[in-house]
């Protein structure tokens, strides 16, 4: 069976203006217990790659520039 992909809204939002991934920061990617964040290789910014969040928030707490905001997603609200 062929695999299709579907799009969803990302609950974890990164403020590109504050994110310093281009300087080598990967803190949020490293701490996420579910490994769902990644650095976009083109833009050199962090982003939520997989919709598999536990809403635990180390990504937000540990980001050195305060670029991460964990929102409660629509389906949990």
């Amino acid at each position: 069976m062929p695999i299709i992909t579907e799009s969803k809204s990302a609950a974890v939002v990164i403020d590109d203006a504050k994110c310093i991934a281009e300087k080598g920061c990967t803190v949020c990617v490293e701490v996420c217990p579910l490994d769902i964040l990644a650095i976009d290789e083109g833009r050199k910014k962090a982003y939520m790659k997989y919709d598999e969040c536990w809403y635990c928030m180390p990504c937000e707490a540990d980001c050195p520039t305060g670029a991460v905001k964990v929102n409660i997603p629509y389906l949990l609200r």
């Binding site: 701490v31 996420c32 490994d35 409660i72």
Partner: protein, 581 residues
Amino acid sequence: MSASEPTTEIIEADILVIGGGTGGPMAAIKAKEANPALRVVLMEKANVKRSGAISMGMDGLNNAVVPGYATPEQYVKEITIANDGVVHQKAVMAYATGSFPMIQYLDKLGVKFEKDGAGEYNMRKVHHLGTYVLPMPEGHNVKKVLYRQLRRLQVAVTNRYMATRLLKSRDGAISGAIGVNTRTSEFLVVRAKSVILACGAAGRLGLPASGYMFGTYENAANCGDGYAMAYHAGAELANLECYQINPLIKDYNGPSCAYVTGPFGGYTANNKGERFIECDYWSGQMMLEFWRELQSGAGPVFLKLDHLAEETISEIETILHTNERPSRGRFHEKRGNDYRRRPVEMHISEIGFCSGHSASGVWVDENARTTIPGLYAVGDMASVPHNYMLGAFVNGGIAGADAASYCEGVDLPDFDAGFLKAERERVLAPTRRDDGLTPHEMEFKTRRMVNDYLEPPKVTAKMEIGQRRFAEIREDLNQLCARDPHELHRALELQSILDCADMAAAASLYRTESRWGFYHLRVDHPETNDDEWFCHTMLFKDEAGRMAHRKREIAPYVVDVAADEMAAYHQLRVKTAQAAE
């Protein structure tokens, strides 16, 4: 991904700890403290800095045995009663006597507990009988403290490796484990004299109603790998039919923690604002009353705080919204929930395995030893009941110290190279297909069937259908497809979840009585039958590779419990509902 085959690296250690959440780091620390010369490797699926149930810290100790407030004997009695007598008391006693020394040790390392003006621990009563709760309003630094100690003692940490199977020697002793990198799919084989499993609860068994795969309560990395690995290695697992089911905040699906608010005057109420259970401490009996209230039409059930004074409410908010689950405050904000104005709706969680809050798990004795020589289990996945965070620390410490002395007497055991080769093939099979079923859909289907067929009240005919569905899903595994290492790691997790689903069904069918309130409420066998079932049930893989069961006698109690005391947790329902103050 099939372009280049993932490599296999083999390293040697004395002790391998699998799972770097709570109990795992403490096991590694205590092994190193016992013998600094030991090579201790800590393998973690995520990153030890922020992994496990206490990723963001903790709100308090739920089971602290502090001199002046409770004795180990009183604690052992309370836990025995709360579990309908089916406990290995020596293991509970080992925890209880290790409890206070561990609090002092953590305090010394820099973990902050609530103290009064005189510097004494500020204990609170939440349990039905005794006083065991110690709040940690500044409990957010626990992981930092552990991490610092791991570095100080030079424990070797391997992050982002998911252990998939345990290795055994020809003579049946443990000899290490196989891990797969979650980002590269490379293999790491750690040969070791002793292995300590600390992989947490099986928190991805039932499916949340939200539409998301992961709940907001249990750390979703804890998907039952530990149970599956122990099972496949031939270890015995105890009382798996004693599920974990928790009262959660509806929709948010995270902790509501009525018991945290209890000492401040908060409580669980029905739709009339009335208290219907005497004690909010989690037990099967408490969940049974919760479920009955919902069934009776007196629900929904709420966490009620609106009768409390402003300063009390702000204190509760600080504890509940800044520490352990900060996203909880954000949920309330979006909903317009204000503890001052309206009670918060609660609901019953989906099922899981977890001895941290309930009682089932890989069987361990008072030294945290499993039934396989050299293999230990600690924390939420080990069989010591109601162990919570402090239990994970204490038993982790016990396992670390015991493993350190076990290592002195053994040489590095051999392992089966053929087994390693076969495991590589099992792991990589989903990467050999370009099309097929995704881990997401196979996991979703498995867990939907868990909800449909395994949830209590447990019905024999339904559980048998569940077993058939799980068998069909197992046949579909030859279509499972993973397109990158992340998907492969989910594909492996799915296989642990399926193993746990099978174990939950088989264990529930084996015990033909009802026990532990809602956790094992069997419609076809509604009575508790002490004559036949006052025992542990052990589940294991037999010689032929089939799931088998046996009874294990309950070892003589070290603390006597009188027959009339044993019923205390059966009288949780408030006699005549009292009006809210």
